[in-house]
Every structure is written in structure tokens, then in C-alpha cells.
């Protein structure tokens, strides 16, 4: 039976709940879970000051309510499952190395920032810096998967090194900024400067996007790896086209001002 946490009322200011993870909860009794420390501003409080807690000793956690002001849910988690029925706050799944998080609502900035493994699915929209590097860090997410069905904000996948980000809706500026590897699938288009300063990695755009002048057209083709990758992405509930009878991908290399060896693949069959 999963541990269920029902938010009593949304906190007035952001609540920092770094211990809201399967790792912290899996071995704890209900009383211990209730007593887990959370920080409201500079005040140290108990988890049950904000949540009704039900269940114990489980690495499956369900959170109900509008947790959009609860930060760091699933931070650094290594295992287990979290289901958030409602919204999630900033830094959700930041630095996680394993396990899965599903959010039925929207989430804020820094979703899965610097994550190293595991899977995050968001059925609503995400904020900026999805899977990104924190300020100053050289690398963003280094493995794992993030699927956002709605839109996302600025700097999606900034400095990401490996792993996969799929965004169903539109993303804002600077998707794949300084990207070093990995794959970003943009199913719903992007605003400006996609792939700026990218060194390596792949951005797949399933609709027309505006490109920087520092990306050079190479060819139109149907990359073999996408055929394989599409099968993997299908397991996440997404389809990406690869059939040559439907169209091809225009390949642009860049960002040549770095100079970089990344690629943006733009589907022509829409």
C-alpha cells in the first residue's frame, strides 16, 4: 500500500521538502514520516504540519493537492515511484538517479535538473530549465528520461549531457542551450535560438522551428537510429515519424559559432 500524503492547504511561501522521496520514506513508520523535517522559510517544521499522512514503509508515494509551492519533491531519489495528483513545485526530481515520478498537473522550473537516471512524466506543462544544469555547473542531466506532455519554458535541456527529453507542446527560447549530448524531441515547436551553442547531441523537431543562422543545412534523410529510437519512445507513449514515404528529416549541424557538432533534425512530412 502506498504512502499517501494529502496537502492540507497550500503553504503561504514555498516549502522546502527535500526528504519527500521514496528513499527517506521507504523504511520509516508513519510516526517517523510525520516527523520528517521540512523548511518553511527559515522555520523548520514537520511534514505533518502540511500533509495528512497515511500508510508507512513503502517506496510508493502518492501526493494529492496543489503542491506547486512544495519544492524539491523526489530530490536525489534512487528508487520507488511517486505519483503527484495535482501540481508539483520547483526542482522536482532534481538530481534523481532512479525510480519514476508522474505528475498529473503542471510543474515549475528545474524539473529533473542535473538528474542522472530514472523517469519523470508530466501530464501538464513544465517551467524552464527542464533537465538543465544549475547555474555554474558544466553539465545538466546525464541520463534518464523526462516526458512533458504540455509546454515547457526557457532553456530546456541546457548543458544536458545524455538522456532524453520529450516535450509535447511548445518550448520557449534556448532549448538545448550549450547542449553536450543526449536527445531533445520537440513535438510542438519552439520559440527562438533553439540549440544555441550546442556542442553535440540531437534535437528532433516535429514541426517547423526558427533556426539560428549558425546552423548549416546538411541533407534531408531518414536517420537509421531514429527508426530504433522511435520504438523506445513509443514505450513512453509517443510516436515520432521515420517512414520515408511520409517524409524526411532536414539535418542542420551546429552551433557553428562554438564550433559544435550537434544536429537539429526537422521533420518535413507534417
Amino acid at each position: 500500500m502506498p504512502v499517501t500524503l494529502v496537502l492540507k492547504t497550500p503553504p503561504p511561501v514555498p516549502l522546502e521538502a527535500e526528504l519527500l522521496t521514496p528513499d527517506a520514506i521507504a523504511e520509516r513508520s508513519r510516526a517517523d514520516i510525520c516527523a520528517l523535517p521540512v523548511n518553511l522559510g527559515k522555520r523548520r517544521m514537520r511534514l505533518d504540519d502540511f500533509f495528512d499522512v497515511d500508510g508507512e514503509r513503502s517506496d510508493e508515494i502518492e501526493i494529492r493537492g496543489d503542491a506547486s509551492r512544495v519544492k524539491w519533491i523526489g530530490r536525489g531519489m534512487t528508487r520507488g515511484r511517486m505519483l503527484i495528483r495535482g501540481n508539483g513545485g520547483m526542482h522536482l526530481g532534481s538530481g534523481m538517479t532512479g525510480g519514476a515520478i508522474t505528475v498529473t498537473g503542471n510543474v515549475s522550473d528545474w524539473l529533473g535538473a542535473e538528474m542522472k537516471g530514472g523517469t519523470i512524466r508530466v501530464q501538464g506543462n513544465a517551467g524552464g530549465q527542464v533537465g538543465a544544469a544549475y547555474r555554474g555547473s558544466l553539465n545538466g542531466m546525464s541520463d534518464g528520461t523526462i516526458v512533458v506532455q504540455g509546454s515547457a519554458g526557457l532553456e530546456v535541456g541546457m548543458r544536458m549531457k545524455r538522456g532524453l527529453i520529450v516535450v509535447g507542446g511548445r518550448v520557449r527560447d534556448f532549448a538545448g542551450l550549450q547542449m553536450k549530448g543526449g536527445t531533445i524531441v520537440l513535438a510542438g515547436g519552439a520559440e527562438l535560438r533553439t540549440g544555441a551553442w550546442m556542442v553535440r547531441g540531437t534535437i528532433v523537431a516535429l514541426s517547423s522551428i526558427s533556426l539560428l543562422p549558425t546552423f548549416a543545412y546538411a541533407c534531408t534523410y531518414n536517420p537509421t537510429f531514429l527508426n530504433l529510437y522511435a520504438k523506445h519512445i513509443a514505450t513512453l507513449g509517443w510516436t515520432i515519424p521515420f517512414d520515408a514515404r511520409e517524409g524526411g528529416y532536414r539535418r542542420y549541424t551546429g552551433d557553428t559559432c562554438v564550433p559544435g557538432k550537434g544536429e537539429i533534425l526537422v521533420w518535413t512530412g507534417f
Binding site: Y134, R135, G136, S137, L138
Partner: protein, 541 residues
Amino acid sequence: MLRITGGKVYDPSNGIDGAVKDICIADGKIVADLDGGSSIDATGMVVFPGGVDVHTHVAGGALNFARGLVPETQRAARKFLHTSDRRSGLGGMTPTTFATGYLYAGMGWTTVNEAAVPILSARHTHEELHDIPLVDKTSLVLMANNELVLDLLEAGEIERAKQVVSWLVWAAKGYGVKAVNPGGVTAWKWGKNANTLFGPVEGYQKVTPARIISSLAEIVDALKLPHPLHLHCNNLGVPGNVATTIETMKVIDGHRAHLAHIQFHAYGGDDWSSMRSESVRLADAFNAQKNLTADAGVVLFGNAVTITADGPWQHLLYELTGHKWGNLDVENETGCGIVPYVYKDRNLVNAVQWAVGLELLLLIDDPWRICLTTDHPNGAGFWRYPEIVQLLTDAEFRKAQVKKLPPKAQQRIVLADLDREYTMSEIAILTSAGPARTLGLSQKGHLGPGADADVTIYHEKPENGRFFTSPRYVIKGGQIVVEDGDVRATTAGREFVVHPACDDQIEGYLRELFPKVYTMSFENYPVEIERLRHAQIQPCL
């Protein structure tokens, strides 16, 4: 009043080498004897004078820039939480001000010398130094690329240059004169460097790096400053630079000088792939010149942040590493570059650098003339000094470390052939008595009557087997401030400044010149002595 009983005392300045002896403290000073007061039983412990760091970078605009440049290391850094008697802060490669004091004192160091202050940033630097608790401070004023001084050298007006230097040291409330890559940083403002000692500096006809060095060394001696010219030689970090360093020693021509972080100046070879240690050659030359002192600038493997006024070198390092780069202070009387760096033991160049620092410490025969530093945070964080002490006192351990280096690196160094082990007394010289003497701080670095009561007490045989890593007690100004590695009290440290003699006429000369070359008003330029809340004027020689 405090009496320390039963400890083995290492006080090389007073010829005490491990004798069991009481140390008595009254009114913040060491006294010959006293009646009453509390006592510390130091049986099974060793008693050292508090550590003195002759060359470190702990405050000022460049440090602050570096703190902002590496938020990723700050996130991973040791956190100091606010308590009733301690301020909050962060450790890491560029600790915050309060944390700097806690870390230094926690290690047993009680005096530090901030080694590079641009005059325009002096006010800010003193504000930060004030916020470093527990340790006493001195600071050195950057002078070798100051255009006011260089213009006078170009005109051959050495006497007036002397007066200007004297005025500037007091204006910045400094303790001594620092020279960084003389002429090279001036050339950097033209996008160039000064690679040879005898060619004219960019923008000048007669001024050469050699002339800047010899003139400043002469001026510092003439002004009778307690600390000699503190010199960061030209061609830092470059393969083959040992020739420049040895030339520089000749140029100093018998004057006093302190060569900073000589590890970075003792390389042979023609390029990065052929780089090798030239510590034997440098140590031989250094041993023969008794007018010189030096600090080691040891490199340890791991994270570092390189911060130096040597702007052109930092640009080169940025191009080599592709890491982040900050370039600042070119509008000041100096330059500055900041590049985060990681020293790796599998890297040939880094392995040679690691060995050279230790080789110089072992090959320089007079421990009074070489001080323990890492050029914090350039070679490693200062809190890693205990690791260096272990490497110096245990030859077997050291040789085991050498064996871990890449075979190619082992052929480029001589460290494996050195059997010397530092004695306890030599460690006391290296970490305290020597640097105190080099700084001209007669009240520091010893435990004789009249000295400041800065005392560090270590377990002789600690449970973790590693001597020196964490002091049992640290006493600063007669007060116990650290017990078992925990900060117990946070007293403010003092700042020592010098007020060298200066011709009254020179202020008029500068007042007239100032509006033509500066964008601030002359009245706002000098730091008022009242700004330094715990200033103490140290007499000139």
C-alpha cells in the same frame, strides 16, 4: 590568565625543541611566569606557535568575483550554520569571509597575509578582512604595474617613485609591496605579455621588467618596510621558466625579496609535453642567495580556483582548459584573471607541478627561508596544509604517493630520490616561525615573553594516526577559540599596517596629477585609517 602545562614545546625562535615547559599567558601576551589563573593540561600534546600564512588570497574584489564564478562548488561546499556565537558561511574553494576565519583558526593558523590588493579595491578588501574573524591580517599592495610608478621609472625619477610608493602603501593601508608579473600585466592592457626581463614593456621605451623589479626591491629596502618586496616572477606556469626565475634572482641584486609560490616558477622543458621539474637548479640558486625568502605554492590534486593579478597568464590558462574565465581589474592599477581548475594525478603537467612543490620544500636547506603555502586557492585550499605536512614528515608515505603517478611523470621529477623528513621543529619553522620572521612580525611565530599569545596545541599521537590534522586547542590572543576542531569563540582579528616615511611634497604632486589619470576624486582615493576597525601600525625597520 592561562597556563599550559605538560606539553612538549616547539618554539624554534627561542631555541626550544620539544622540551616540556609551561607556557604562561596574561593579557593576550606570553609572559615568563604568572600566579593563579586557569590552566590547560597539555600532557601528551605538542605546543606550537599559531600558524602564519605568508601568501594567501582571502579577501577583495577578485575573490568575490571568483565566489560568483563557481556557484557549483559553493553548493557542494561545507556549510557553516548560524549559531549563537558563529556567523553562517560556506567553505569550498573560495570560502566566505566568516568561514575563512573559522577554517584557518580551526586548523591552528592565527595570522594570514592577503597577498594581492589593487589600491582601487583596497577599501573593499579591508571591509572583507574585517569580516574574517579569529585571525590577524596583513595585506600587500600591487605595485609593479602601477602606471604612476612606471611613468616615474621611465623618466628615471627613482627618488620620486620611492615617495609615491610610500604614499600609495599608506593610502591603501597596506603592509607591504607586491609585484605580479612586472610589466606583463601592463602589457596585458595592450593584449600582450612580458616574456623577457630585459625587453621594454609595452607602452614604454626604457622600462623593462628587470628595471621594475630592481627598482621596487631597492625602494622597499629604502623605505625599511618590515616585509621585503613580495615578488610573483614573470612567466609563471610556463615550461622552461626556471631561467627567468634565476635571472630574476640576479636582478634583485642583493636586496631583500620574497619569491611567491616558487613551485610555479621552477619548470624546465620547451613545451607542455616536455615539461619537467627544475627544482634542483632553482633550489641551488636559491640556497646561495641569502637575501631571499620564498613560499612554496604547493599543488595538491583536486579542485582549485586560480586567481591572480597575472591577467595574461590566466588568458593562456583559459585557452588551455576551455574552462570559465574571468578577466577583471584591467581598469585598476593591475589586472586579474580567474579560471577554475582541477589538478589531476593522471595529467603529466599536474603531476610534475605536485612534485615540484614538495621537491623545493625538501631541497631548500634553510627552513627559515621557505614557507608553507598553496597560494590558496590557486594550488589547493589552505585547509589542506596538514596533507602537505604529512608528505614532508613521512618519506615512506611520500614515496608511495610518487609511485602512483604516471611513469612518464616519474621520469620528469626527482621527488622519489629525496629522503629528507621534516622534524617537528622544522615544521614549526615552516608553518609559523619562518613566515612570521619573513613578514617582519616580531610578535608572531614564537612563544617567548612579549609575543602575542597565539598558540596551537596538537595531540602528539592522535587517535586517527594523523598528526596535525586537527588541533586540540587553538589559543588566539590568550583566549581559547578552538577546542577539538570546534570554534568556541569568535574574536575579531587585528590588521597590521605600515606607515613608511614620506615626503610631504609628494601629496601635492599626486593631487595635481590625479585628475588627469583617474576618474575618481583624489580625496576619495586613500582608505582612512578609521575604516580599519582593528588596525595596528607595525613599525618600519
